[in-house]
Symmetry: C2
Subunit: 239 residues, 2 copies
DNA sequence: CGGAATGTTGATATGCCTCAACTAAAGTGG
DNA sequence: CCACTTTAGTTGAGGCATATCAACATTCCG
């Protein structure tokens, strides 16, 4: 439980200014944790969730499921993220949330959060802000998938994941966890598995970054950012 | 001024349940209106806007501007929409907002809205909900541009615009305004002008819909929805 | 009426998807 | 611990779709 509180508090501080009273209020939240297996769904399209998810460790993703069974990954989430905060106000899930690898999540009843919001409106604004940053990331995905070449797209994606991992302290030795298969990268970036593989090889060849064994190794961030035309402004980090 | 209040009130009612007191509170908002010329920017990437935009008439769009001058349209907005509500909490604009054709907009100081939110928290939730629906639309755009063929992508886009126009009473004789050039459609859907043109012709050939002279004529919505695998659930309309 | 913007069409080339074979790595059970 | 099975990654070849280029038609607007 403390774990949940700490993770939420750290994340909010990364983008919002909160009073000590807000921090105290966060610690009154009740909920439970759950361990997810790789690929396991947390909520499905069409569900009416009663709990908000907080990622405690591991990686979680949102995706659309198409008629033909094809999957489109929409975003990836790490410790501190609340990947379905939107369900607090929009009850029908228009997409699904699943674990990518082994993940630990916190589940907080919607009611708990909504009553907390009436007591500490600044916390509502903090969660709202988080959903707005999510939206900014979605917009970047539209632009990335719609108007950049394969390698540039992948470069931008890597820069984004790396920066976000950095803000929650998941970067060690210029590397961060990114437990995605090449097939999943393709399903996120709107390209085939084969194209994803070849894009990755091009990035390797530049020596800027490499993905191997679920770890993203960043050798030259500036070069990768140039390749992917990455500008972190849209992540709206305070610093 | 009344105009602004009416437009906002109608829109909020389409997705949120509000008390009579909330409706009264909306009428206390102060702001001014402004007429936009086609293509004119309302806010630019990097701006720190002090006013929230409400579209009163015409069409407004959000877009990213890339290094090479290329433009990626992200969303299109009609009467009742607040296309940059996010700037209330995220001060740096990570994208731009412009008029597509002649448009009338209302400008409400952020301060006005933020103080209103403290008095009537339900209104904050209504605006939050609106930004969440925006995000759902962005997610659909990712999926649409990433995993559907040209004609299907266009079909989905038409269905979305048509449904949204319908909810604010802009549909007349199975047609709604959609004043986009084929080049702009391409820049929204991640395809070239020529491909947009050919996709449009395919839709015409099916007899399901046609875009001509800035008007989207819907001849067979069900067929178009099938072509584009369109399911309006993500728009989160109350009805 | 003239000029500019928008829409339409065809030809060419590139790039991506699909299929398919193969390699490497990881996990399983004897 | 090794043989086996499964999954993930890699590589090549063929065909289709889209981008690009270019010419032309049409519409809009001054």
């Amino acid at each position: 439980m403390e774990h949940i509180h700490n993770v939420i508090a750290q994340k909010f501080r990364a983008h919002s200014f909160l009073a000590e009273e807000d921090m105290v209020a966060i610690r009154t939240l009740r909920g439970h944790t759950r361990d997810m297996r790789p690929e396991e769904d947390i909520v499905r399209q069409g569900d009416l969730p009663q709990f908000a998810i907080v990622v405690l460790s591991g990686m979680v993703a949102r995706y659309h499921l198409l008629r033909n069974g094809q999957r489109q990954y929409l975003s990836f989430h790490i410790a501190g993220d609340m990947p379905d905060a939107q369900a607090l106000l929009l009850h029908d899930m228009d997409h699904a949330v699943c674990a990518i690898d082994r993940a630990e999540i916190g589940l907080i009843p919607h009611k708990e959060l909504l009553t907390l919001f009436t007591l500490r409106p600044q916390l509502a604004l903090a969660v709202w802000r988080e959903t707005l940053i999510d939206a900014a990331i979605f917009r970047q995905a539209i632009t990335n998938n719609g108007s950049r070449s394969g390698p540039a797209r992948l470069a931008h994606f890597f820069c984004e994941q790396y920066c976000r991992a950095e803000t929650v302290g998941l970067v060690r030795d210029k590397a961060c966890p990114l437990p995605l298969s090449q097939a999943q990268i393709g399903q996120a970036l709107g390209m085939s598995l084969v194209t994803a593989n070849r894009a990755l090889q091009k990035l390797r060849a530049t020596g800027a970054a490499d993905l191997r064994g679920g770890k993203l190794r960043m050798h030259d961030f500036r070069q990768l950012a140039r390749l992917g035309q990455f500008d972190p402004a849209y992540l709206h980090l305070k610093s």
